[in-house]
Amino acid sequence: MLTFLVRRLMLAVPVLLGVVFVVMLTVELIPGDAVALMLGEHATPEAVAKLRDYLGLDKPMLVRYVEYVGRVARGDLGRSIQQNRPVLDELADVWPATLELTVAALLIAAVVGVLAGLVSAVWPTSLFDAVARIGSLFGLSMPVFWTGLVLIVVFAFWLSWLPVGGAGTPAHLVLPAVTLALPSVAMVARMTRSSVLDVLREDYVRTARAKGVAERLVVSKHALRNAAIPILTLLGLQAGQLMGGAVLTETVFAWPGLGRLIVKAIFARDYVLVQGAVLVFAVAFVLINLAVDLAYGVLDPRVSRQG
């Protein structure tokens, strides 16, 4: 177990190095210059050149990469090009809000999704099943800004129950978390339904039922446990996507999160900020994947631990 953990954590290092390299390379190759964009329409080419020189942007990419990795090893994520502010500070501004939103959305997705999927599986082709399936598809197909704005109009405008946007109180969290969670709820519900249906049809389940084991026990002990792996895989992946892909939700609800920060940085070609954000992100991913893999082992001992 310990060797497994250590090995995985060590393997995380090349992943992080790789991500930083790919990001740097990509920004290098795509059109757009951070300094020219920043200085804007008024800048003379000399001013742009001077600032690029000052920021050390004209050094060859590999040199910059090595320097960057060296700095990161010392805990310094550099300074953003746009604000010349430490990247750590910029990330610290958005990290708590991002965690809050991601965890809230994930909880909603897990709880509501699994429950709905479970009920659908236990009573398939019932009215609930049909309504749940179509309803969840609705949440999945309508774009975030549509559902978000509709929710704002209904709950903040007509009913005045909740604030329009921003962050701060738990009330501010409700609408963005629900909006963000909707597509995930649909996916989790569907996956749960599918997996549990499969398991419920297994012979050993029939055997258990025939032996007189209570339905509840059948469902919770056998069905859910065995159906858990694909659901867990999905939840793990959703966690990552919710974290970084919440940009549309953050925009609609004025939520100061990581998604908007990264998008803004990409449009400004502020690769230092993008790298820093992606690095933190990647670390989170690796940890989540690790957790999911560990859970695999717990849930299904037949799965031998892989690197």
């Binding site: 795509i30 059109p31 757009g32 210059d33 020219a36 964009l37 920043m38 200085l39 804007g40 329409e41 008024h42 800048a43 003379t44 080419p45 001013a47 001077k50 600032l51 000052y54 920021l55 746009q82 604000q83 010349n84 502010r85 910029e90 501004d93 958005v94 800004f145 978000g148 704005l149 704002i152 109009v153 903040a156 405008f157 005045s160 604030p163 329009v164 946007g165 921003g166 962050a167 953050e250 925009t251 609609v252 609800f253 004025a254 100061p256 908007r260 920060l261 449009f267 400004a268 070609r269």
Partner: protein, 530 residues
């Protein structure tokens, strides 16, 4: 003689302005106190003009930092931290500073602070973002405690208007020394408001500075909130969460104008949004084809249906309010007339092909068009609308909508491989030199300048060079008029609209005057009628 006359003129101007301000006194008793909540789309990058020249930062720091001169809502130069000036030589202007002015940190504003500000911006490492806006400005020199000289490298006609720009605020040397890089997030100036707090991507708060040299601010506090979604901003106004909305939704303005609970403040701005034509690339090198394209566009329909009153007609390549502006009478010279467009194309040798698209010698009249979406109001929409209008006269436009970074790179690059591009140009210092030189001088082809159209006319070159170096404002004006006359005949732009600065507020927000320059959001006289 000139120096004395200029000084006298400034004093008279100042007196008149003071008189106007006094006579425009409130009909109702102003109330002190209260917090004004403003919602706008983005957070600033910095509150230091050295690092931020775009609106999100300017809106805030315009109320905290003041320059030597300022531009009033009628686009006239007014004294601010300077009380008078004198032109010593074609490259030197002497300013007398207002006495007894304090920075927010209590230190005095004086010539040394002015010199510090300009040195920091023009000679610092790295130089200020606005250094490129400063033209030939080279620095400031201290004469005595309350007298400072502004020096230019060569005679620079727009010098006063440049000094009146929003980003020329004087900063406190003590504060810069103490805060270092953090000054960017907590600036110290002489304005009626001082900095309180900045929570990134959430809000910036400023509050009244009790020791302000002029009329103290009436509001206690102002909160600038970030609400990126347009619909959400409008809802915030309706629910009362916000008192003022910047960049309101054009489609909702008619309803707001009719509603007595809200006020829509609007005035013509100084940005012109246009479709640029690459005059160096066939078939647009033929002036008849360019003129045909102008006739093909129904600008009024665009203004009425896409901009819906949120923008004004573009009368030329400059906006009214810019010094040197001439109404180029485009609606009379190039009215919407499809028949005329087709006739001009026929004159140039283009005849309709079998698919309805004009062709000449086997070549189809197909233009490639580069545009961004969301950089300027409705830029993507007007591009699409004009694309359809072109189709009606047999011109095919292949539009490529890319994100701004990619568009910027190409428009600012050499060579430019498209026939057309959609762009907006703001005359930042409200002086024609800023636009006409950078956009139409033959040597200002990118990457040196912004002449993406590759327009070249020797007479225009001479005129804009002369006007730039002259300090005689009436002479400069005449020169710019001639430039615009020439441009009117050779049109390398299809000007679409002139921006309107529009701010929507609750009617309870009083004392607020909208300014043509989008960065000049002055809250010094605003108050809340509760």
């Amino acid at each position: 003689m000139t120096r004395f006359r200029n000084a006298l003129l400034v004093l008279i101007a100042g007196a008149v302005a003071a008189g106007l301000l006094a006579s425009a006194g409130p009909a109702e008793a102003q109330k002190r106190g209260g917090t004004l909540t403003i919602v706008r789309p983005t957070d600033p990058v910095s509150l230091d003009p050295n690092l931020e020249t775009t609106a999100p930062g300017a809106w805030v720091y315009f109320n905290m930092l003041e320059g030597l001169l300022t531009l009033d809502a009628k686009m006239q130069i007014q004294p601010s931290l300077a009380t008078s000036y004198e032109v010593m030589s074609p490259t030197r202007v002497r300013f007398k500073l207002r006495p007894n002015v304090k920075f927010h940190d209590g230190t005095p504003m004086n010539a040394a602070a002015v010199k510090f500000t300009y040195d920091r911006a023009l000679k610092g490492t790295p130089p200020a973002r606005w250094a490129s806006l400063a033209g030939s400005l080279s620095g400031a020199e201290v004469v005595d405690d309350l007298t400072v000289d502004i020096v230019t490298r060569e005679p620079y006609g727009p010098v006063l208007r440049t000094l009146a720009m929003y980003c020329m605020g004087i900063v406190s040397p003590t504060a810069v020394g103490k805060l270092g890089a953090d000054f960017s997030r907590a600036p110290v100036g002489t304005g009626p408001f001082k900095f309180v707090e900045w929570k990134t991507n959430t809000h910036v708060i400023i509050e009244r500075f009790p020791d302000y040299w002029g009329d103290k601010a009436l509001l206690d506090r102002v909160i600038f909130k970030v609400v990126p979604e347009e619909g959400a901003r409008m809802i915030a106004l309706q629910t009362g969460d916000a008192d003022m909305v910047l960049f309101p939704s054009p489609a909702l303005l008619p309803a707001l104008r009719r509603d007595p609970k809200f006020t829509v403040h609007e005035t013509t701005g100084i940005r012109v949004v246009f479709a640029g034509l690459h005059a160096g690339m066939a078939p647009l090198d033929d002036v008849r084809v360019r003129q045909a394209l102008l006739h093909a566009v129904d600008r009024k329909a665009i203004l009425d249906n896409i901009m819906e009153g949120s923008a004004g007609p573009a009368m030329g390549v400059l906006a009214p309010g810019v010094f040197g502006y001439k109404d180029m009478q485009l609606d009379r010279a190039y009215p919407f007339d499809r028949a005329k467009a087709k006739a001009l194309l026929a004159q140039a040798g283009w005849t309709p092909g079998s698919d309805g698209i004009m062709q000449k010698g086997g070549q189809r009249l197909s233009l490639s068009w580069l545009a961004a979406r969301g950089r300027y109001p409705k830029d993507g929409e007007i591009t699409e609308a004009i694309q359809a209008m072109f189709k009606d006269v047999g011109v095919e436009a292949k539009v490529q909508v890319l994100e701004w970074a990619a568009v910027f790179q190409q428009v600012r690059g050499n060579p430019f491989n498209h026939h057309m591009f959609t762009l907006g140009w703001v005359t930042s210092n409200a002086d024609a030199d800023y636009s006409l030189y950078a956009l139409f001088h033959s040597k200002q082809v990118p990457p040196a300048g912004w002449n993406t159209s590759r327009y070249a006319n020797a007479r225009v070159d001479t005129l804009v060079e002369q006007a730039r170096r002259s300090l005689n404002q009436s002479e400069r004006e005449k020169l710019y008029f001639e430039v615009q006359d020439i441009l009117a005949k050779e049109m390398v732009w299809i000007p679409v609209y002139t921006t309107k600065e529009i701010v929507a507020t609750k009617t309870a927000v009083k004392g607020f005057t909208i300014h043509p320059v989008e960065y000049n959001l002055w809250l010094g006289k605003a108050w809340l009628d509760k």
